[in-house]
Symmetry: C2
Subunit: 423 residues, 2 copies
């Protein structure tokens, strides 16, 4: 590869709000999205909330001349909603489904049924290995009393960990998606600190779009205005994040967002705003210090955010255990009630009432049984994330104690970082 | 690293058969296992079916002087049963839970509740990066009519894919575990062909142990003799697999198995036999052709096994769809019955019978609903694996058409494999 090597990468991201029968003007919006993507001819278009596989197939057909490669990530009962269209051949793809994703009995929220995931594409562009990730984390329904906070933190951790373990030979890492995290939220900080990813909005040389880079804005006619009331100019929850490793340098030349309208006609493409980034990848001259893109060098923010996440997960473990115990008591109560009803029926007393109460009692036992099993599984998932966090926290502290020289080797798993006790 | 570099690695693997209340002499066997591991002082001990976390904690306490590092992989409702004890510090760990793992309504088999997974440990040994994987795939209850075949094939594929994506910077890859696959089974061939892993039993210079390397033998008093009847000397379903990448060479100096008895006293440690391998990692001289360990070079067996797996998954998709449709019809029937019962109760006819039938009808609708949702999820999981297989199959064919020079680059995602159309 020549030292003058330079690669321009145009990326598009949108949460499409494509819920069949529920999302307004879905067919029309999908049609206009297809026209727009064809006209713009991005290198990569990463989409979330394409819940209907038929919508993906229609888009695929329409986009195939411009984007010959495409993939739909299947998971859960409804699907992950994630898909990608690429101008370049996809070398490899895989996905990771988050182990925690809300509660099955919160049917009106529906996240549990969707099988939220992170999808990975590996592309080879002019000899450069690009790992592109697309994801969608659990929605936030009530910021004041967010019962999904720990699940979202665990998802952000799994996302960061998945990127960490699958990108070790990548030259450039790109993450797009709807994180359902505000820029100051724990999950966002955890993800950025552990992966060393840069936020296109904060780093770009040229930004055009909505105020403060918001991706849900009150100007958008599909947005629930009441939900956005506490946020004057909207919220920023969709992101383009990137980093370069191993001798490359990446920068964001331009970042655009839509501003509550279709870029051409009046109506917006979705209730979220689209992100359009132009990234530039260059060879890093050997004298340049690669630490800024090669991983986090300042450890204390990482330690502090890991500690914060650990505390959050620890609280959630206690709460999940409480729910499992509570469900256990309800099962016991239900079984007692069933025994009582059997005795009443056998004794011939208030027979009809006893028979009438049979159904809700069986339902109670079965329902509580399902809730018990679910929360036992939740405890396992939270404990898993907590153990991984704890391990990384230990290693981050160790790295801090050893001083700056040993940090990248210890934390980023570099081959050079062999230590005496490994013998 | 010196060219004379040489590393000896002693590895232990055992499916411990540690089901609380069900497995015979569990406490005694766990105690003796701990004593044995302490006495032998392996580099790594990888265990499966340690279903009770308390058993792991007891072992951890006992083994901590010899194996200071340990990890228990939590997942599902019961757990993955996987754990590891290491003489060397664990740099990193993570896990992947298989998306398909049997059926929740097959309660007597119980695999669905266990959350079968693959665990990954990253170790740094004398400057060498070792990725050690431990796994346990879905059990085979009836070889003649194996309803879990497609799930096990999908698990083998996910395992191979997980290793492929997480080991790109590893020098040595080690996989131990109970694969529940015979050496000629599709899943085993798929795993070996796609990852390029070598089987310690087939490659070792010195084997001592049970006939044909079997890991479930009729001599073991805990084994169900009836199940082993068709196999004279037993079955080989537990494995030590390995490969070296990037300038290293790995060989298996010795492989031992137990032979239905504890290595010291009479009673066996489990219903499975333990595997004990001594591996030797050396620097590969630059003139040596690395192709034999650097990935599969002979593509046609890969293409053939990928095609076979694709066909198996395709059949399973059709079957899962059939079950979902069937469950859909049962839901309809149940709802019809409920409406009829309501009408009977309202009309005052055979009131008591109608009320009595209310519970089973509600149960029918809810049960069929759960089965419907489960099989819809199964379809998604099978389609996901099928799509990944199809993609790799396409690339393998492409590589075969292009000739041997382009094969490693195309298939193993090497950085050098950039192609003109990637521009």
């Amino acid at each position: 590869m020549k030292p003058s090597f330079s690669l321009r990468l145009r990326v598009f991201n949108l949460n499409c709000w494509g819920i069949p029968y529920l999302s307004k003007h879905r067919a029309d919006r999908m049609k206009r999205l297809g026209d727009f993507l064809n006209a713009e001819s991005f290198d990569l278009a990463l989409l979330e909330e394409v819940w209907s596989e038929q919508d993906f197939q229609d888009l695929r057909q329409k986009l195939s001349p411009t984007y010959p490669a495409a993939h739909y990530f299947r998971s859960g009962i409804i699907g992950s909603g994630l898909c990608v269209f690429s101008k370049h051949p996809i070398q490899e793809f895989t996905q990771h489904v988050y182990s925690l994703n809300g509660y099955p009995y919160m049917i009106h929220h529906g996240d549990w049924f969707s099988g939220k995931a992170v999808g990975l594409l590996v592309l080879h562009l002019s000899g450069l290995v690009l790992n592109a990730y697309v994801t969608h984390l659990h929605a936030e329904y009530n910021r004041q009393k967010d019962i999904y906070l720990a699940h979202r933190v665990a998802q952000a951790w799994e996302l960061a960990h998945f990127i960490h373990h699958t990108s070790k030979k990548a030259d450039v890492i790109l993450l797009c998606g709807d994180l359902n995290l505000h820029p100051k939220d724990l999950g966002y900080r955890l993800l950025k600190e552990w992966t060393g990813l840069h936020d296109a909005y904060l780093e770009t040389q040229d930004f055009k779009g909505s105020e403060e880079g918001c991706t849900m804005v009150p100007q958008n006619c599909y947005v629930n205005q009441q939900e956005l009331e506490p946020f004057r100019c909207g919220i920023r929850i969709d992101y383009v994040l990137y980093k370069a490793v191993s001798g490359f340098y990446i920068s964001c030349k331009t970042l655009k967002t839509t501003t509550g309208h279709d870029p051409h006609s009046g109506f917006p493409l979705s209730d979220h705003e689209a992100l359009m980034a132009t990234l530039c990848v260059k060879h890093r001259p050997p004298q340049q210090n690669p630490s800024s893109t090669n991983g986090p060098t300042e450890r204390s923010p990482l330690i502090s955010v890991l500690r914060e996440a650990w505390t959050e997960l620890d609280l959630a473990v206690a709460q999940a255990r409480w729910w499992a115990t509570f469900a256990g008591y309800v099962i016991g109560l239900g079984l007692l009630l069933l025994a009582l009803l059997c005795a009443l029926v056998a004794g011939g007393e208030v027979r009809e009432v006893a028979i009438l109460l049979w159904t809700p009692s069986v339902g109670l036992v079965l329902g509580a049984g399902a809730v018990y099993l679910f929360h036992i599984q939740e405890v396992k998932g939270l404990c898993r994330a907590r153990a991984e966090l704890y391990h990384v926290l230990g290693r981050a502290r160790e790295a801090q104690d050893l001083g700056p020289e040993s940090q990248p080797a210890l934390l980023l798993g570099h081959q050079e970082g062999n230590r005496a006790e490994d013998q």
